[in-house]
Amino acid sequence: MSANPIQSAIRKLTTGIPGLDAIAKGGLPEGRTTLLAGSAGSAKTVFAVQFLAEGIRQFGQHGVFVTFEEAPADIRRNMATLGWDIAAWEAEGRWTFVDASPLPGEDEIVAGEYDLGALLARIEAAVNRVGARRLAMDSLGSLFGHFNNHALIRSELFRIAAALKLMKITAIMTAERSEEYGDISRYGVEEFVVDNVMILRNVLDGEKRRRTLELLKFRGTEHQKGEYPFTVLPGQGIVVIPLSAIELKQRSSNTRITSGSRELDAMCGGGFFRDSIILVSGATGCGKTLISTEFIAGGAAGGERCLFLAFEESRDQLSRNAAGWGKNFEDLESRGMLKVIAVYPETMGLEDHLIAIKSAIDEFQPSRVAVDSLSALERVSTVKGYREFVIGLTSFIKHREIAGLFTATTARLIGGESITEAHISTITDSIILLRYVEMFGEITRGITVLKMRGSAHDKEIREFSIDASGMHIGQSFRNVTGILSGHPRHVEPHEIKRLDTLFANHDEE
């Protein structure tokens, strides 16, 4: 009896557009019309077509496409590249066009009062002809361009939306926006025609294009607020990246897994947790790839499938590195325990990387994933885009309840922090820092567990070395302070002793 009567009255129609239903909390309001507003080139037509295409492909729901702008022949041809065979659906009676695109080279003369009764009659006939559940109208701007009496067109659109509601059709109307952040649409349609408004944006941000989708209002129903990035992929169409909509509702497991190094396990209080995100941060060459390799080899040795995503080094290079540390990647791969994917960050945009990573995880079903390095992807995106990517990837991995180890390169050799750390430190379960430490004119490597959610851990900074069998963690640095900040300072032993006794005395009191 706790259900809100308004919310229970409006049901949602699962669109089938990847990612959209998650942020729309189930889909578009069923039997209602949703306005889809966007500037030129914001993929409105693709969205409108895909809304019908997914209905046909996934749910057997037939669709009517009302076009005011492009001729049906153009739409059929343009959408073929996205993998949709509209002509075949038309032949099967699952899709039909209502062609209201402008007739070329013909002036219409207005001589008296008129309405859009013919359009409505054609729409109703088309809906009945194919037994449609979904309808898309693209785009209203062209309709307003065609007729001068805008007040009339608005009231006629209202009449059409009302008729669609009676026919229990879930519909999308697209409309133009002149600017990315301003009025919802150019002709003020949203005010009285529709209850629901979505906005597509294609904004230039730091010399890079970012596409986002925002659910501006869904009257009477719940949805996620804010802008969500999306991409348009050949053969797939629009893929929305739900980011924070992927609720962090995964069970947190108490099962420990090995980091691949007994000494590191000990520092973490018995190993990493089964479904946790571990961030390894350090300057170039100080052992991040090594830790990733240990993590993978340790998993594979325990019979877990492992995925290694490399953005800095080639497959051959990784195999050679691993061999140098006594791990045989080729053997693991041939036994199907390991899959190495090495991609240069520049080959695609971050949204596409995220989708590629997700599908690799879905396909290979690994128990652990290492990403070396996450920060290499920083350079192909804007700061905002990168942050969204990191959050999206993290939440996806956590959702799958697998262990993820990400590495991040710090800009400075000694001390320092990375953008990645700043972005994901709050959502990672463990943070391991690797640092170069300069002591008495010598460079050594230090490792420390900065954070270990839900567990006690070693708080010392320990020296570690690398040899042909991998990583070896040794003693903690004695008599040194300031390693993390990059300014190690040697402290006299008697000073430490003095501080110790100071606190000891304090405790006794």
Binding site: S101, I109, A111, G112, Y114, G117, A118, F147
Partner: protein, 92 residues
Amino acid sequence: MSKFVLKLYITGHTPQSERAIGNLRRICETELQDQFEMEVIDVLEHPQLAENDRIIATPTLVKSLPPPLRRVIGDLSDKERVLLGLDLKSLP
């Protein structure tokens, strides 16, 4: 004068539709005498014909012959504009 072939699309027999039919008939009889064929098409009964001619607004008058093809929308109450649309009158 060559024969005029006219189609008038209406949506149901509303007062607006009846006005358009009456106005068209009056204009044709005075201007074209018997040199015209006039067909009234109700979109509610023949949506496919409206689909073929891509009719959006009603009433819409389509002049198929003589060329060029012309469309006039509205209840045809503005006689001057109708004559313009039928190429019976050019712009002053």
